[in-house]
């Protein structure tokens, strides 16, 4: 009897303690080890530091502290799924898988568990169709938006005419690398350019054949869908064959300091598409230094502040935090559930004024997510590397994709996914 009473009082005290320690759980599927660690570290630092800032400066979001749950994936799909399984029971609000492979694995699992996924600018592009992918979000833009915006930039460079021009796509020979191919093929039919596809096998340490082919065929422009060491080697090889760097344009995952610094002066002029601002000249960084870095609470040593992938991690965290705020407003509950979070993400609206209020004026384009559009505005700008000052700068405004082409592809691909998986589209 005494034992039963003891158990009952223990259970009661645990439930009280649980209520007292309510929090907003944010898992972080990091990769600080493995072949892609140099990029993973920057993103993970930015993601963690923003939530640390909110805890230290504001006491969390809406008065509820954030509990950050890092889990190392080493960019390995199996480990990513293990991380998901081991953290979803903690009340995780949203997963940022940070890998197209992990995203593909988590789409059915997270949808069944009612937890939202934010594959920001990666993963399955057609998940932008919110009618079919209820729990997957890929705002502020997709791979197909990126491909289209790069082609638009090339059109601008060529005075609006690409007839007879050749664009080569150097891509990581994986699901990720192949994502833009259909879009580029459709756009080539529309604009009359020739598309040359050049695959590079993982990890991309040796690309001599690919760049000899480019040297022989002399395409007018080269686009790159690479990641990790593939990017550095490609930019190095392009510099070696003296390919004009201003005609070499990477996706936003081939756009970090890690990709260009090892190449030195040879990388000068290399371009890439950007989904957000560059550098650390934003008021928010003063707060990060004051509340996170100076007190020694930063995830890294502080040397990555303002770097592209740090900014991307920070941007992803800011978007998650704003979705939490939105969810709290909609539900009237501060300690939200994953279902609330999903609703918050679907109703996310960030305008220029809000960005300025957050200390990130003009850091990215305004974002409006809706039930049918989980891909956001699909805007991108072009950034260019200056090897003399070792800085990126945005050389264009944020511009939109060719919606006629991209939306048709999204509708087609998502409909095929719905048919394969017996999903009845939601009415929005």
């Amino acid at each position: 009897m005494k034992f039963t009473k003891l158990l009952a009082s223990l259970a009661l005290s645990m439930s009280v303690a649980g209520a007292a320690y309510s929090d907003l759980v944010i898992p972080s599927l990091d990769y600080r080890t493995g072949p892609y660690a140099p990029n993973g570290i920057h993103f993970a630092d930015g993601y963690a530091d923003y939530f640390t800032l909110l805890n230290e400066r504001d006491g969390g979001i809406g008065g509820v502290p954030i509990r950050f749950l890092p889990c190392e994936t080493a960019y390995n799909t199996e480990k990513g799924v293990e991380c998901y399984e081991s953290t979803k029971g903690e009340g995780s609000l949203v997963y940022q898988p940070l890998s197209t492979g992990i995203t593909y694995q988590l789409i059915p699992k997270a949808t069944a568990d009612g937890i939202p996924i934010h594959s920001m600018g990666y993963g399955r592009t057609s998940a932008a169709n919110g009618k079919i992918f209820s729990n997957v979000f890929n705002y502020p833009g997709t791979y197909w938006d990126a491909a289209s915006i790069i082609v638009k930039h090339i059109l601008d460079q060529e005075g609006g005419d690409l007839n007879g021009k050749t664009i080569a796509l150097v891509y990581h020979n994986s699901a990720y690398g192949k994502e833009p191919i259909r879009t580029l093929e459709k756009l080539s039919e529309k604009h009359g350019y020739n598309l040359t596809l050049i695959a590079v096998d993982h990890p991309g340490q040796e690309q001599k054949s690919q760049w000899l082919q480019i040297r022989r065929e002399r395409p007018d422009y080269v686009m790159m869908w690479g990641w990790g060491v593939m990017n550095q080697v490609a930019i190095q090889e392009a510099a070696n064959i003296r390919y004009p760097m201003e005609n070499f344009i990477g996706v936003w995952w081939s756009a970090s300091e890690n990709d260009v610094i090892p190449v030195g002066q040879g990388a000068h002029g290399y371009k890439a598409i950007a989904m957000h601002g560059v550098g650390d000249d934003y008021p928010l960084y003063d707060d990060i230094r004051k509340y996170v870095l100076d007190p020694g609470k930063a995830a890294g040593d502080g040397s990555n502040l303002g770097k592209i992938l740090y900014n991307r991690g920070l941007y992803a965290a800011m978007l998650a935090a704003e979705a939490i705020r939105t969810a709290q407003e909609i539900s009237g509950v501060a300690d939200i559930t994953p279902a609330h979070m999903r609703d918050g993400m679907e109703a996310l609206s960030i305008d220029e004024a809000r960005l300025a209020e957050l200390g990130l004026p003009n850091f990215g384009p305004p974002i409006q997510v809706t039930c049918e559009n989980h891909g956001g505005p699909g805007l991108g700008a072009i950034q260019q590397w200056d090897a003399n000052t070792a800085t990126w700068s945005l050389i264009t405004d944020f511009t939109g994709a060719d919606r006629e082409v991209v939306d048709a592809l999204i509708a087609e691909d998502s409909a095929a996914f719905a048919a394969e998986n017996n999903i009845t589209p939601r009415s929005c």
Partner: protein
């Protein structure tokens, strides 16, 4: 000559150069296998570790700084401006010798007379351990490696070969990367030194004796343990050379350890016990995969090099299981 013909020559030439880069990695495997019968899975990680250590010395980075900072709350990262290339290379060699001594002391000594598969498994463990230690010591950030080796296409070679084309054709000249030319020169030097060392020094002869027959070598007083330390030290130095060459191309990062994958078909083809085999195997793999990618690749969607190297190696395996230069397998019944 037509541009097509010259392009084919260019592909062969660049294949040879790529093959040399593969051989640099394969050499380390051969040295250890020859002397101890161990297939050293950790050879790729040794190249990574050596390159990380070299950059650490060059840039004046404090080893284990992240760990120290985490434990003691300090903010230390660098001890000074770094050191010049030669001193950094010499110190890295010392570290690799120390590493070899530790491997013998802590791993190999306890596994004498064990089955080759057990020794192989030990090197798998060693590879993961070293990767972790490398991360703790120097961090996982991308590091730029520059020891002053020139890189980029050779203008001189382009100009010379541009004149080889027949009249009426447009031709840009042949491409060759200066870094690859340097790698070829260094590989020739390395093989020459290794050959002279094994032929004309007492230690070299002892190495060959151990490679021929462990038991017989022991009976004439050769210390197996000393030989293992020497062999692993030499393999460490070869790993450093490979790490410098590959790291100069792509920066030093953890994917560098994957270069070992490029060495496996070279070893299958050239044989696990032959230094010239590692070189010739590398050249055949390099030329074979580049020619295949050039001629057949576009028809099958490209990216054929990784798998074609293994197909080529398997083809040779069917006819010469011991590899082109490996010791003939004789089994008496």
């Amino acid at each position: 000559m037509t541009p097509d013909f010259l392009n084919t020559i260019e592909v062969i030439l660049n294949g040879l150069m790529a093959g040399v880069m593969y051989s640099l990695v394969a050499l380390g495997f051969v040295l250890i296998f020859k002397a101890s019968g161990i297939f050293n899975y950790a050879q790729g990680v040794m190249a990574l570790f050596a390159a990380l250590t070299l950059v650490g010395f060059q840039t004046g980075q404090i080893p284990f700084a992240h760990l120290v900072n985490e434990i003691f709350g300090t903010q230390i990262h660098h001890w000074g401006p770094g050191m010049n290339n030669l001193i950094a290379i010499l110190l890295t060699i010392l570290v690799m010798v120390l590493f070899a001594w530790l491997v013998e002391k802590l791993v190999l000594k306890h596994l004498v007379n064990q089955e080759p598969i057990i020794l192989f498994m030990a090197t798998i463990g060693l590879a993961f351990f070293m990767e972790g230690v490398g991360d703790l010591m120097w961090g996982a950030d991308l590091k730029t490696l520059d020891v002053g080796i020139p890189s980029g296409g050779s203008f001189w070679w382009e100009d010379v070969t541009r004149t080889w084309v027949s009249e009426g054709y447009e031709y840009y000249g042949m491409y060759i990367d200066l870094l690859d030319v340097w790698a070829a020169g260094i590989a020739v030097l390395l093989v020459t030194v290794l050959t002279l060392f094994s032929q004309y020094t007492k230690t070299g002869r002892a190495l060959r004796a151990v490679a021929d027959d462990h038991q017989a070598a022991l009976t004439v007083g050769i210390s197996l343990r000393s030989i293992w330390v020497i062999v692993w030290s030499i393999a460490g130095i070869v790993a450093l050379v490979a790490g410098i060459m590959w790291g100069s191309k792509s920066g030093v990062q953890f994917s560098l350890s994957l270069i070992a994958l490029k060495a496996l078909p070279v070893l299958i083809l050239g044989g696990f016990t032959s230094i010239p085999g590692a070189i010739v195997g590398g050249l055949i793999i390099g030329v074979g995969e580049k020619l295949f990618e050039f001629s057949i690749g576009p028809l099958v969607g490209g990216a054929t090099e990784n798998w074609f190297a293994y197909v080529l190696a398997l083809f040779f395996l069917m006819f010469r299981p011991q590899g082109l230069f490996g010791e003939r397998i004789i089994e008496r019944v």
